[in-house]
Subunit: 286 residues, 2 copies
């Protein structure tokens, strides 16, 4: 695939989870395929934003004339890894009208009373929409595995249900892109510490973050299992090194551009008689 | 009120609909209170985006610790006036996580079976959210008045219901900001014509736009009535000259900044023992 500005190899190729993938072997403080530094990353992000934005507009436009394609970006990560930054700086560069963002928090009592996909399905993007999940149904095989809230048989059932759900979405025209932002425990500690030294960031700090942090190795095991069970042809996972925020943003942007380009979108033809409408416009002076 | 960059008088002051307001007397091809030209407008928009963005983040942050404030921007205009541009370029500069956008199309059969505010209420922003209505309940006193789908008594009932609804929102902590983007018929004609000369814009063109255009004077009458009946202290209207897109965007941005500043937002204090958490962090090396 052709290389975008600043990249010597395409991140969609480099970061895609394939057979034999091992999360433990992935460095986090790197910028695979990118030849520049932080400032170049910011420049690339700004330069490529209009490309992503135009592709999203084409996706939206097609759906107005019967197109059924859509995109779903699923974001998973340990706390502070930068999901919010992806939403703000990558997704934030496209027209809000075409974005359907769903943030998944701890489930409510009503949600818990249903099977785990019940609350997820309404978040699936309609035709032309760019759906984003900030956390997702993967919590049900991550935190649930880490804390033993689901046993092995139940987890197996869920992996299978997830694959069936995502295949259904893909078959109906949704390009499913799953991104895990991969930070190191050291980088997380630095970011949590920064929050406690900046009064404009206190609100982002929760003492429970440190409790969950203790389970880091168990979370990595649970992610490894997720990648083995659910990185499919129809709904691939990308593991994005995220210690460098600028790299993670530029890489996710390129993965999205690549995904949208693979849909071979077209501007819809006018569903009207062009000459007739031009003539009507000439008579429309008020 | 203090003047932002580029403005010699604050648009929130200049463009607010007050007693005796006459829509017919408002020029559309002007830039009230702004001293510069198109390029300066773009510069101002970019320069002020981080200000709006930070205010939105404060609004969101406050709500995480019990704050009940929110903002609702209601956008109304004739076709092509630039509602989409406001959503994309002004609202689009804040974190999508904090935005709740509702686009109102022609009502469905189910929506029609209810009173006109039924479908509107769920769009009201929750605490901390920045709600945006692209069209709104005002269609029920605009297009309905123009086409005689509601008689005078019914329209009066609706104005009153709207004022009661918006006062309820305001009393519960929502700053309601209503913006009418004011373009001239000549400018609309130019924009419609441009759509028919650019294949990337065909999808935005609908032959019915020209049908509705014939009712321009009736629409202006209906807007004038709306301003007389519903521009209240709690939910003011702003009529923004919109023949110059760059001005409309900069002006709406400033009106939003002004509105958010008037909420006197604060960064929430940490709801934890700062020293204790800093000590815990020191022990949290993995």
């Amino acid at each position: 695939m052709p290389q975008p500005n600043g990249f010597t190899q395409h991140p969609a190729e480099l970061l895609r989870v394939g057979p034999g993938f091992s999360l433990a072997e992935q460095p986090t403080d790197v910028a695979p395929g990118f030849s520049g530094k932080k400032l170049d990353g910011a420049t690339t992000l700004a330069a490529r934003a209009p490309v992503l934005s135009q592709l999203q507009e084409q996706l939206f436009a097609e759906s107005r004339f019967g197109g059924s394609k859509s995109v779903l970006l699923i974001l998973q990560a340990m706390d502070t890894a930068g999901k919010g930054g992806i939403v703000g700086h990558v997704v934030g560069s496209v027209d809000p009208q075409g974005v359907k963002l769903t943030t998944f928090k701890a489930p409510t009592d009503e949600e818990k009373a249903h099977d785990f996909l019940w609350r997820v399905r309404p978040g699936a993007p309609g035709p032309g929409m760019f759906g984003v999940f900030d956390r997702s149904h993967y919590e049900d095989v991550l935190i649930h595995r880490v804390h033993g809230w689901a046993d092995e048989a139940e987890l197996e059932r869920r992996y299978a249900a997830i694959n069936a759900f995502e295949a259904e979405l893909a078959d109906a025209g949704t390009a499913v892109v799953k991104v895990m932002l991969n930070i190191s425990p050291a980088e997380q500690l630095e970011r949590l510490t920064a929050r406690l030294h900046d009064p404009t960031k206190y609100w982002k700090y929760s003492p429970t973050d440190l409790d969950e942090r203790k389970f880091w190795p168990q979370y990595m095991d649970a992610y490894q299992r997720v990648f083995e069970k659910t990185s499919t042809e129809k709904a691939p996972w990308y593991v994005v090194p995220a210690d460098k925020k600028w790299y993670a943003r530029a890489a996710v942007q390129e993965i999205l551009i690549h995904t949208l380009e693979s849909l071979t979108l077209q501007w819809p033809a006018g569903h009207f008689d062009l000459n007739q409408e031009r003539a009507r416009l000439k008579d429309a002076v008020l």
